[in-house]
């Protein structure tokens, strides 16, 4: 089972629909400062149901919607779709591909879809349970996590173990 592609529309610095094809093996993502690399990680975290806005570098969830540039107006909705290849039949579905979609409107309304059918976040997390797919600390590692894990002051280390157990 592996991630097949990520589709971003209206999410942070992706006003137009962008498809990021994902392949097995090791993929390096490179580019200048501020061009959008970490935003891709944020998009994956978000579509997997992340609710902590601080982990998306915002102060409110609305901030993940494309808010315009010098030349473009802000958009009213952000949508990210993750397509997972179900080649080992691990996911409880007869489809060979599973699509998870999350949408957020400026009104605050949000939607989740499984294979384009509206559902609840609960349905998605239940399907992914025990697959290892999720916004786990050990699946998405960022530079500032090093200090958090080694510090005695935060609960991050504790939390790591609880996620694995």
């Amino acid at each position: 089972m592996y991630l097949k592609r990520l589709e971003l529309l209206g999410f942070k610095s992706f006003p137009d629909k962008t498809v990021v094809k994902l392949t097995p093996g090791v993929t390096a993502v490179v580019g200048p400062n501020g061009c959008g690399k970490s935003n891709i990680l944020d998009a994956l975290r978000w579509v997997l149901g992340e609710q902590k806005v601080s982990l998306l570098r915002g102060s409110k969830m609305e901030e993940i919607i494309f808010n315009g540039t010098r030349d473009l107006k802000p958009l009213g909705m952000a949508e990210v779709t993750l397509v997972i290849q179900n080649n080992k039949g691990i996911l409880p579905t007869e489809y060979s591909e599973v699509q998870i979609t999350r949408r957020l409107f400026r009104s605050g309304e949000s939607e989740y879809l499984l294979n384009k059918v509206p559902c609840r976040l609960k349905d998605i997390t239940e399907m992914l349970m025990d697959t290892g797919i999720g916004a786990h600390v050990y699946s998405m590692i960022q530079q500032d996590m090093v200090d958090a894990i080694l510090s005695d002051r935060t609960d991050d280390r504790r939390f790591l173990f609880e996620e694995a157990a």
Partner: protein
């Protein structure tokens, strides 16, 4: 729950000792529950001693040694329940060349069962990857994704991380 946590802890502990020894080409490391009779609430202590050096507190270790220690712990936990994907955002930034090679070797070993996406500015990491995505912002504020090298079509060339010159 307590027994599940304790057995997971033991497994992480063995993995941690192994991964640390590989990344540090020697030395020793351990993790301990500070209060053994209350594992679910107990703080977790990290002990690390690079090869040939005397035991020092985690705070006295160098920036790169701390990063490698945190990475060892994260991989130790990952090994308990490998996730199908793992995204690393500039984790190689504090590492010297030799440590980047060791870090990439471990990732290669895990890459048959896990898709790795490594955001990086480092040339060694770029060279070692199977696939390469270049991210740019030709129009300010708008991210563009370009596939620079895919496993099927290995091209040689100089990759300039500052694609905006």
């Amino acid at each position: 729950a307590k027994n599940l946590f304790l057995s997971t802890f033991e497994e992480v502990r063995k993995n941690f000792q192994q991964v640390f020894e590989e990344l540090f080409t020697g030395g020793q490391a351990d993790i301990r529950l500070l209060s053994e009779d209350d594992p679910l609430e107990s703080p977790i202590e990290i002990i690390a001693r690079p090869r040939g050096k005397k035991l020092l507190s985690i705070t006295q270790m160098s920036g790169g040694e701390r990063a490698l220690t945190a990475i060892s712990l994260l991989f130790a936990i990952y090994l308990v329940k490998p996730s199908p994907f793992c995204i690393l955002d500039e984790i190689d930034a504090p590492l010297d060349d030799a440590n980047i090679h060791r870090f990439l070797k471990i990732i290669k070993n895990f890459s048959d069962q896990t898709q790795f996406i490594i955001i990086t500015h480092n040339k060694i990491t770029m060279e070692a990857s199977d696939n390469l995505y270049g991210i740019t912002m030709e129009q300010p504020g708008i991210t563009k994704v370009v596939s620079v090298r895919f496993q099927e079509d290995v091209q040689e060339g100089v990759v300039d991380t500052s694609l905006d010159r």
